[in-house]
Amino acid sequence: MSIDGLRTIDTDVAIIGSGGAGLMCVLHLADHAPELDATVVSKGAIGRSGCTRMVQGGYNAVLDPNDSLELHFRDTLEGGKYLNDQEMAWTLVTEAPRAIEELESRVGCSFDRTEDGRIHQKAFGGQNFDRTVHKGDLTGMEIMGKLLEQMQRIQPNELGDARALDLLLDEDGEIAGVTVLDVMTGEVAVLRARVVVVATGGAATMYKIAAPAREKTGDGVAMCYHAGLELRDMEMLQFHPTGLLAGESSLTGAVLEEGLRGAGARMYNAMGERFMKRYDPERMERSTRDVVSRASYQEIMAGRGTPAGGVWIDISHLGAEEVERRFPGMTARSRIMGRDLAREPIEISPTSHYHMGGVVIDKHCQTSVPGLLVAGEDSGGVHGANRLGGNGVAESTIFGGRAGDRAAALASERKLRDPDLEQVEVSVARAIAPLQRENGHSPFGITRELKEVMWEGCGVVRAKKGLLRARDKIEELEKKAADVAVSGPAQANYAWQEALDVTNQLTVARAMVESALVREESRGSHFRSDCPEQDDKRWLRFIVAKKQTDGRVRIDLRPVKFSRRRPDPADPSAEEQERKEPSEELRRG
């Protein structure tokens, strides 16, 4: 089948993304239905893009007999400020022990062990038990390295350096496939599939100081939003408190793992004061990421930050050899920039890290579009208002696997469909427009401006004025992005890719700002200086964002179902919340 001479590729299951979620999906699919044809589509190199590989800290799982699923669940809900979808959070917690076993005995990972041979579990922030499984401080490399080898063994079809542009539905509104742009050749193709799994990861890169790899520009969330799917918790963007500050270098924003704080690292402001005693005297530096990020930010804003706009972290008191032994990757990185984590304090700043918000799914990764599944950071609900360190790579691998299980079952029931031709045409035209324009805006300038306005207006601390400014700026930048021009060939043109990336970042930014404007309270990672208190009476509801036909963002509020655990068993207001009307609709721009 050909559409205007466009190459069409047919497959049974298309997996968009090749991180922890995407590759676990491939594995589970091959286990359950080896006869199915799978195609992995990855914007960068397969298995060498995105953030799973960059996970330093670890993977939370209940393994110790003194730990309990109920405790891990409670920690997850308390971290998420009870905004979590409890069924999804419970799925995460109950599947994690099995997933660790699977990673070791099936995938081939080997995690650090104690002297008596048990898996070593280290301390991480915001948890009441040391349950973070790890391999040194390079856990992600272990997981991705082995997952990639498993994928090579399975040999799915590989479309590496190929970016999925838009989801394609057929005339009945069922999933038909995606348009795909080959980054190296500049050609567009149609990939038809019975089932599509979206696992591209979030858009935290749209901030001035950001942690993720360059591919993480919200492609999955943006394409789902444009296809009419609901997004939730979009205002919940996690800032990791300890990102490197390295001037204009690309190293700025790179994460120094939470395990540093778990191991006793101390944080100081420019006055040499351990400022956490004023924000969380009980847990100090081992408080949750949102509390520590906000504390640093407030110190910096109050004029107690370094000239470069940061604070200090110091773990040298453990002794240089111990630091080198426990944190080899980070120590090496600090030395590349001319400092030494093992011997001196390092300058840090909160850094945009992870997006709790994303596409609404059920615990089998299903969306409102039959045949379309979403897994990992692209989805929302597991983590609520704030993610615990160690729960992220757990989510990706667990739900990626579950998406594979579900895709195996669905693919045999579904047929290949013909995508609506108009959608294909619109997708292709939009994608190649920047190349065809003679004059227009530079994509790099748009990215720079977006990163600035998000940092200022929708950052660690927000307020109505800044959010409104961000909203206006995003609208202005969306117009510029629709008029962007890039020169050069179509082949391996990264200015062109930047133009496509920033379009997706703007889509995500828009939904984020609109949601942040609606939530007039502070909860987890969403902090508003103009409404600094958490208001459980009014706000134990999650915010759903959806694209309207006129292009504006529609906002709905839905009550959280406390299906397994109430925020405070003795609190009557929680019951009152449930008895309220099922949803409240607010129209927003």
Partner: protein, 131 residues
């Protein structure tokens, strides 16, 4: 020496610690291949390439992903060896550098090379090992 030459020499000497002259062989022979890039501190080779792409020539093609030496995608050839651009800082006082695509692989465009052959060899190894 002419006035222009003298002036050029003076400005070159004045600015030499603040700028780096970067030479990169381009696939398009008409494209710019020499750039005077402002130094920042710290500055990795990757930062040099990003500065060129963002401020001098957006058509410069190179790969990177994680920028923290975990993905192995930013390989280039410098000073006689293949290195990761995100791992190599520009030495203090250095004001000239030539960055080439990794040796031993086919060039796709500018600094981007085919990596399929490396992956294929690795897959063969995995197969052989798992027999």
């Amino acid at each position: 020496m002419s006035d222009v030459e003298a002036r050029s020499r003076r400005s070159e000497m004045r600015g030499s610690e603040k700028k780096v002259r970067v030479t990169i062989p381009r696939s398009d022979l008409e494209a710019q291949n020499t750039f005077e890039v402002d130094r920042t501190d710290p500055m990795l080779l990757l930062d040099l390439l990003l500065a060129i792409q963002r401020r001098h020539d957006p058509s410069l093609a190179f790969r990177y992903s994680c920028r923290v030496a975990m993905c192995n995608m930013c390989g280039v050839h410098v000073d006689g060896g293949n290195v990761l651009a995100c791992r190599v800082p520009l030495e203090a006082g250095r004001d000239e550098i030539r960055v080439e695509p990794m040796q031993g692989a086919t060039v796709v465009r500018d600094l981007i090379v085919e990596t399929d052959q490396f992956v294929d060899e690795w897959v063969q190894d995995v197969d052989r090992w798992s027999q």
